[in-house]
């Protein structure tokens, strides 16, 4: 610590060069922050919302096929099952396809299984008692400026009403919010009553998109899943039941290997960065050879010269990298405020910072290693003589 000023002034010996190098490091870690935020968003989609005690049952062939509602009583009767609910994807469009948000028809006990969505008891009763009622997440209501009592028209893409009309209108009776701030981004959903949906739609009546089963004990999850699937074995509607977490992970992986793409880009970026910062450090040491010799003359040991030079390169990367990560945090917040969930990004939080800091120290040590070794091995006589 007591050498900090020495390291600092050595670092800014050539101001322009150091500032340019800092800006390169900054750019690299700005990019790291942004990409890691996207990568974490995809990784979280697989894990954050999903309770491990909830199972998803969909058609074995594809989740786009529906299941008969008659399965419900069978699942409810299984041992280890606490609660069962069901839902159906609606896929309605609000005004313009660009306004995309998820909208689903849900059974009246849906919110019992999803305590992470907080809906006041009065609004819950209103939702249950209003046939055409709908509830939306707080974020979504804010985005479209909806208030309780508003009518929300949705244009059906899959399910026309009896008689062929595509226009469905819902009455907004409740606004729910996420109890966990991490789930804020997932709030963009509209739920409405499955009973009304099933009664009014032109086809598919009596079927549901998927079942959600809450198990009484997490340890029973696997056992219950197999039991649910056994109910429909060899029928024309075989099911596949997995934990919500596994279901989401499988869905996300269908977009492609996000981790691989991000990894390759960051590989290219950091390879370049190591070369660039390494060059700066090599230049810095080359210029200062007489000074280093003086340091050794007045009693600095080889190890402390090595330490000073390594500390300098680590400090260089840390300084630029930290500013870059702070900037990436600001950019991510701005993007999230502007477009919401259209671009999946998590906040630049502790885990991204931890990974970033680790990388900074690592890169600092790598680029400092060769120049520092050169500084350590200097022979005072040769260096002072300029040989």
């Amino acid at each position: 610590m007591k050498y900090l000023r020495l390291i600092w002034s050595a670092m800014f010996r050539r101001k322009t060069r150091t500032i340019f190098t800092l800006l390169s490091v900054l750019a690299a870690f700005l990019l790291f922050g942004l990409l890691d935020s996207v990568r974490s968003a995809f990784a979280n989609a697989a894990s954050s919302i999903a309770g491990v005690d909830r199972l998803v049952t969909v058609s074995k062939i594809s989740f786009t096929l529906s299941l008969p509602k008659s399965l419900l009583s069978g699942i409810e009767a299984l041992p280890g099952v606490a609660k069962v609910t069901y839902a159906n994807w609606f896929g309605g469009i609000y005004q313009d396809p660009k306004n995309f948000f998820a909208n689903e028809a849900v059974a009246d006990n849906f919110f019992d299984l999803y305590p992470e969505w907080q809906l006041s008891p009065a609004e819950r009763t209103a939702f249950r008692n209003t046939r055409t009622g709908a509830v939306v997440g707080e974020g979504l209501a804010k985005k479209f400026n909806w208030k309780l009592g508003d009518k929300i028209p949705l244009q059906a893409t899959i399910f026309p009403q009896k008689g062929g009309a595509n226009a469905w209108t819902f009455d907004l009776v409740g606004i729910f919010r996420a109890t966990n701030p991490k789930l804020k981004a997932e709030e963009s959903v509209l739920f409405f009553n499955w009973d009304y949906f099933d009664e009014a739609r032109a086809f598919g009546n009596g079927t549901v998109g998927w079942y959600i089963t809450q198990v009484s004990d997490r340890k029973l999850a696997q056992q219950v899943a197999s039991a649910v699937d056994a109910l429909s074995t060899n029928s024309d509607h075989e099911t596949k039941t997995q934990t919500e977490q596994a279901f989401n992970a499988a869905f996300v992986s269908q977009y492609g290997d996000i981790g691989l793409i991000v990894g390759s880009i960051m590989g290219a970026v950091f390879f370049t960065l190591i070369l660039l910062t390494g060059n700066t450090m090599a230049q810095a040491v080359r210029e200062r050879i007489p000074e280093l010799a003086v340091l050794k003359t007045i009693g600095f040991s080889n190890q402390s010269v090595l330490g000073l030079l390594l500390a300098e390169s680590v400090l260089l990367v840390l300084l630029g990298g930290a500013i870059g990560l702070v900037l990436s945090g600001l950019v991510v917040d701005a993007v999230r405020a502007a477009v919401g969930t259209a671009v999946p990004m998590t906040r630049v939080g502790a885990s991204i910072w931890l990974r970033g800091l680790g990388l900074m120290v690592l890169i600092g040590l790598i680029v400092g290693a060769l120049p520092a070794r050169r500084g350590m091995r200097l022979r005072i006589v040769d260096a002072l003589a300029g040989r």
Binding site: R17, L23, I61, L65, T157, A250, S253, L275, N279
Partner: protein
Amino acid sequence: MRESRLRRFGSLIASLIIAAVALALLVLSPWWLLLAVLLLAVLWTLATRIGHQAWSVTEVGLATIPQRLGASSVVVVGIAGVVAVLVALLAMAAGFEAALQQGGTDDTAIVLRAGSQTEINSVLDHDSANLVAQAPQVLRDAHGQPIASPELVLVASLPKKSSGLDANVEIRGIGERAWSLRPNVRIIAGRKFGLGLREMIVGKGAREQFAGLELGSTLNLNGQTWTVVGAFDSGDAHNSELWADTDVMAATYRRGSSTAAVTVRLTGADAFDAFKAALASDPRLTVDAKTTRSYYTDQSAALSKLIRILGITIASIMAIGAVFGALNTMYAAVATRSREIATLRAIGFRALPVIFSVLLETMLLALAGGLLGAALTWVIFNHYTVSTLGQNFTQVVFAFQVSPPVLWTGLKWALAIGLIGGLFPALRAARLPVTAGLREL
């Protein structure tokens, strides 16, 4: 003191403006204009005295590159990285777009239930499908039958070869006239499926991405066994699909006599408006008609735009890093040569050749970097096949297209980075005070 600070500030502003103008010209101008500029520059070096001087100074600069290999490689590798990432992402967007759009033409039309954006959301009953096929604008074949294919789009989960995880594959039930509707489809292995049989043929892309689709293998769908009897290549997005007979498919998935959509061949591209109007005016139908070209363009627009924006954003941030790397290297190069430059100025060389030589050296390094990055991407990614989730909630298989326009964009970026990275050091070199430079050790 005050005055000199003012002058420094003024020259900084001036060089920023020069850089911005040069950059704008470089980015906006087409290739032939750049080629013309290059030719002019070559003529200038050959024909004029200053040009001669410039070239000889550049030669000295280039000859000393091996002595500062480490520093110069920073420029080359930094720019190669930017170009590689940019070209790879642009090639991905181009490939996705091409895969979807090649399937679309102006003289074929797709008819969906009104309001459905995609085939997977659409349901047409048997009567509607027949009415659509009977429209007068639909081309008829030699037997007088309308060339129309009532199609069913369904989804099955199959394990992917790469990850072993289940992913959705699209199964398309096609009508018997689909073959004259899509004459570009070739059978590349085995044979076509038999009408009324539980047989299917697999697209080239699906065959590469999914396991268990070899000829003769069987699939279990809704408790029924299907046999793979052939493979086809359509050169477009249908390559990601499995094809079977619509009627048999409908029976397996209990869809009755309904279909998802009808695709028809029109009597000509100009017949589409009349076709659309005819369907709209028929009170028995509630359908939307689109040419297949606009249908597939709509499907690819969002994702390819997203990939492009992503590519340009990432490359811009990387480019900023690379510019500072290049600036560092070239400032250092100018500093080590300051004595030589001062000598040249003292014996009568003008400022222009010095500027020109530093700039040219950086641009050549940048060009080398650009070519290296472009070549790397081309070798690794050209025709590299991947798949992602498309609009029908199924996998769309597509290949990266490292095409000449994409490569050209990459090279332009390389030159732009070289221009910025070289211009400021070049101007510094020209402004070096001669006396101070000569005194420097």
